[in-house]
């Protein structure tokens, strides 16, 4: 009897799965209508809802949802026929991507675009490119070494950026405490890289024995210490008043005299140069013994140690390399913007860089650079399209959608993409940031 009634229930037309999915498509249509519709504003919070839902403009979206439903549900077989075609095209392009010539040419074209395109944009976008995109791309590439390659969760990453920036202020004589000599910011770069590297090692040596969540908390604490120090030690860092008039880069060699002044474009090119060099070096590193050791540690630290990988040494190396990249970005930032305040180095920015890395695709250098560029460019773009105060709502929404539908990031690294597939299939050794299975074993 029960089975009979179950059959009867299933037979009702409105219980049919295909029919029930209509609701989902209509709902999706309404959501799209809301998102693309007028935004709310401070005085009228429900503005968007009223104009999105009650105005006649919602109707075409609902109809659109129904059309998509009909296309998918009734024309489904045709769609499935398209699918193998799509996969051949995709896998074909992947195969072609593996050829070094194709890759070199594509990277070359991208570089040309990155060089030529900024010449034709307004000063506003040049400032965005030099002050934000270039700096964040560099930061993300550095953090990618720590998180993407070695699998260490660092929540105090921006502290090394601060160290680079304050080192610039110190060595150019803009801090209350005076350096024994003052230097051109260009010459501060190696010093700042060295300082960030040393502080990375100092932080890493006692703490890298910890793993996963514990390491994250410790690095978070380190970030706070650096921030509070910059804010409160007025005699050393000028405190929350900030440092001003940090000189621009300049070259005075023989007959060459060039000053990077206020315009953003020259700074953008310097940063671009550093980014290209760093990307090239790090991709070499990824495919070396060091990169393999990092992957081994990330996948299974116990097995890595049992196979002879000096885990602490390689983790320190990742930390130091990431930190020095951050320090380099700090010099570029301080010299370009000319003034720094402690508020540029809060936890929020550490998390932002982390988001950039995850969004772009942990472990993939090109992906991380692209992700950072897109995510720093987007809020500026939204500024002119939506209520500027609301733009980070869209930003947040994009990240949520991205993580649900493409957790591996924009351009995932091959190794990481596999790990995510294993995680979804419930296989071992897959958790990217958490402790490795059985990791309680080692001291």
């Amino acid at each position: 009897m029960t089975t009979l009634s179950a059959v009867a229930r299933r037979a009702r037309w409105w219980n049919h799965a295909r029919v029930r999915r209509i609701g989902a498509y209509v709902f999706a249509g309404i959501v799209v209508a809301l998102v693309t519709g007028p935004g709310g504003s401070e005085g009228h919070y429900s503005n968007g809802l009223r104009h999105g839902l009650l105005a006649p403009r919602v109707i075409p979206f609902i109809v659109g949802g129904l059309v998509v439903w009909a296309a998918v549900e009734l024309g489904g077989r045709q769609l499935y026929r398209v699918r193998p075609l799509v996969t051949t095209v995709v896998s074909g392009s992947q195969r072609r991507w593996q050829s070094p010539v194709v890759r070199l040419v594509s990277y070359g074209l991208l570089l040309v675009v990155a060089i030529v395109y900024p010449m034709h944009i307004s000063e506003f976008w040049r400032v965005v490119a030099a002050n934000e995109i270039a700096i964040y791309v560099l930061l993300a590439i550095g953090l990618n070494v720590v998180i993407g390659f070695a699998g260490l969760l660092d929540l105090g990453y921006i502290a090394f950026f601060a160290i680079g920036a304050y080192a610039t202020a110190y060595f150019t004589g803009r801090l209350p405490i005076h350096a024994p000599f003052t230097l051109n910011p260009f010459l501060v770069i190696p010093l700042a890289i060295g300082l960030a590297l040393i502080s990375g090692v100092i932080l890493g040596f006692p703490t890298l024995r910890l793993r996963g969540d514990y390491l994250a908390i410790v690095t978070l604490g380190f970030g706070e210490i650096v921030y509070e120090f910059a804010k409160n030690q007025q005699g050393i860092t000028t405190g929350s008043a900030g440092v001003f008039n940090i000189p621009h880069f300049s070259i005075h060699l023989l007959d060459i005299n060039y000053d990077w002044g206020l315009p953003s474009l020259p700074y953008y090119y310097v940063s671009l140069g550093f980014i290209v060099v760093v990307m090239f070096l790090f991709s070499r590193l990824e495919n070396s013994r060091v990169g393999r050791a990092w992957t081994a540690i990330r996948e299974d630290e116990v097995a890595a140690a049992a196979t002879g990988v000096a885990t602490l040494k390689y983790k320190l190396m990742a930390f130091a390399i990431g930190a020095s990249t951050s320090g380099l970005a700090g010099v570029l930032f301080a010299s370009k913007v000319g003034s720094i305040t402690p508020d540029a180095f809060t936890l929020q920015y550490s998390i932002l860089v982390l988001v950039l890395v995850i969004f772009g695709g942990m472990g993939s250098i090109a992906g991380v650079a692209l992700g950072a560029a897109v995510l720093t460019w987007l809020p500026e773009l939204l500024r002119t399209h939506v209520n500027p105060q609301n733009r980070f709502i869209y930003f947040g929404m994009l990240i949520i959608i991205m993580m649900i539908f493409r957790p591996q990031g924009l351009l995932p690294s091959r190794r990481r993409a596999r790990e995510i597939r294993f995680a979804e299939a419930g296989l071992e050794g897959a958790d990217a940031l958490g402790p490795t299975p059985g990791s309680g074993l080692t001291s």
């Binding site: 996948e299 299974d300 140690a305």
Partner: protein, 282 residues
């Protein structure tokens, strides 16, 4: 036991791992109690015992994962160097020449079979991050050396046709053999195998048997083996040590151990009515 007594003088010279009086406790639980064994160079020694007898704990003490409260573990390398394996980190022990595999296979799942072995093959290389970033010639040379070594070992264990497949996509038996290849890539003098036959089918067990023999004979690697499969133990092991509740209850040749009443008791329990004494561990 008279056999062992006669061998005593010879044993001293070519023992490569000497475990003496090792006691390991976790809080109130004693995992190893005064355990000892000597592993002679060139032999295949099996450690057997019921579940929870402390076999894997013993391996973990040998490889620096656990630090026993008492006792000592001495290791004599081929060069005659004599060091204690306690107080050393797992990677240092591996570099000294003691490699291991795990009971539950622990490969680097997202790397290819080839990359897994290569990580083992390059642990003694001296190339650093800066050389790698700049693509120095000596780095390329080192890469070629480890490439070759990894290829040879994949062929040795018989998974060379799968070298570009990611480790987690390999069949179970292949994963077992790949893990052995990874351990062998570190160029060990002693190989510790933790239940290599667990979960493998009879055909794979036969392959494993010949593989262990070849590791021992062709590569000259001393093997310490934990295994439950008695047929495999009887066929590859020259000597057997039996652990029960963290104690060594018997040692000797497989045949001697098989007939030992203490071993029978450990596996089958004390007979209530005296029982027959000739049951043997399976």
């Amino acid at each position: 036991m008279t056999v062992a007594a006669e061998k005593q003088p010879a044993v001293d010279r070519d023992v490569c791992i000497e475990v003496s009086n090792v006691t390991l406790r976790f809080g109130g639980v004693t995992s190893l109690a005064d355990a000892g064994l000597s592993l002679r160079r060139g032999e295949v020694l099996a450690v057997i015992g019921p579940n929870g007898a402390g076999k894997t704990s013993l391996f973990n003490c040998l490889t620096g994962v656990y630090r026993p409260q008492e006792g000592n573990v001495l290791y004599r390398s081929r060069g005659g160097r004599e060091v204690s394996l306690l107080d050393r980190k797992p990677h240092q022990i591996c570099r000294l020449g003691v490699a291991r595999t795990f009971q539950n296979i622990r490969l680097f799942a997202a790397l290819t079979a080839f990359e897994n072995v290569k990580i083992g093959a390059e642990i003694r290389q001296r190339t650093g991050p800066i050389g790698a970033m700049l693509g120095m010639p000596w780095v390329r040379r080192a890469e070629r050396v480890s490439d070759e070594h990894a290829h040879d070992l994949l062929a040795f264990v018989g998974v060379q046709h799968r070298s570009n497949i990611i480790a987690s996509a390999l069949a179970y038996g292949e994963q077992r053999r790949l893990e052995i290849a990874r351990a062998l890539a570190t160029d060990p003098e002693v190989l510790l195998l933790d239940e290599p036959a667990a979960g493998t089918n009879p055909a794979e067990k036969r392959d494993l048997e010949s593989l262990i023999n070849r590791i021992n004979k062709e590569l000259g690697v001393t093997v310490l083996l934990i295994e439950h499969d008695m047929r495999l133990v009887m066929s590859v092991a020259m000597n057997v040590v039996v652990l029960n509740f963290g104690r060594v209850i018997a040692s000797g040749t497989p045949a001697e151990v098989q007939g030992d009443p203490a071993v029978v008791e450990a596996y089958l329990g004390t007979p209530a009515d005296g029982g027959d004494g000739d049951a043997a561990p399976r």
